[in-house]
Point group: C2
Chain length 174, copies 2
């Protein structure tokens, strides 16, 4: 996975001083890198029956779209507040300062749908945990949480401990 | 394509009275529908050499991600203002009232990259035209513009006349 890691650009002091932002766009725009990342997920989940990939806005849409197509699943968008046009389930979650909200359509998941939740990055795990709660409120089953990048020092893995988790590369030290 | 069309939900009076919103989420969450839509694009573009899929935020990310992976291309995100973390090229475009901006990273496209611009919907074509201009400013070549839905009465096809265009389903009357 070191080859994938080398395709991720680090941008110092973004979005604020002291933060090293891990920029996945350089991996996505590399044909080999993007294919390799998706193929890694596919080989990890190939033998897990999955009905729906739940992709978290908005970089998660790129990963989730490719993965859902390859696994022949449905794709469900977990979106920020007010973006979905139909009836939604809504889950609030904690940010460093204040709260945010994530939504999915009420008909996007049906009882016992086996769902894989996908995002580009696992940091504190707040958004992903909220997406998992939405899946469960609609009586779906979270079969796993998949990320390209994990920042292990931010505690996301512990927060999502009840779910199977899989990430491709890891950056420590923040 | 009537089967695909029947998977698209129409929501009256969204986002404002008199507009019939074509909701693609019902197509995406249907495993057959999503796979069929992507496979239609793949078969259309299979013999066009493509280096980069340029996906327009944010529903375009889902389509573009799946398509780029299947065609073994790089994926470039065309994002709204201020979302990309590195140096960007920026293009303003006209809305019904006011203007908006779309951006891509300066290093996302290199000279002579053959680019397919992808979005979920072709309406007036303003956003897509702006994305095409960004591709050309970075000395890439627009090999085509691909949409799931086309609203032919809004004039997008004429606006993008200099580019090859392909859409899967069409809704007239607006």
């Amino acid at each position: 996975m070191n080859q994938l890691k080398s395709l991720i650009r680090t941008i110092p002091d973004f979005p604020k001083p002291g933060i090293e932002f891990r920029d996945i766009t350089t991996l996505l725009q590399d044909p080999w890198g993007f294919k390799r990342a998706i193929d890694e997920f596919v080989s990890h989940y190939r033998y897990s029956p999955i009905d729906k990939v739940v992709a978290i806005e908005s970089r998660g849409f790129v990963i989730g779209g490719a993965l859902a197509h390859h696994l022949s699943c449905g794709l469900v968008m977990a979106r920020k507040k007010g973006k979905l046009p139909w009836m939604v389930e809504r889950q609030e979650y904690q940010l460093e300062y204040g709260t945010d909200v994530i939504e999915i359509h009420k008909d996007a998941i049906v009882k016992d749908d086996r769902c894989l939740v996908v995002d580009d990055l696992l940091a504190t795990g707040g958004t992903c945990e909220a997406a998992c709660k939405l899946v469960e409120r609609l009586q779906g089953i979270v079969v796993g949480c998949a990320f390209v990048i994990e920042l292990p020092d931010l505690g996301g893995r512990a927060r999502l401990a009840k779910y199977d988790q899989h990430s491709l590369v890891s950056f420590s030290g923040h």
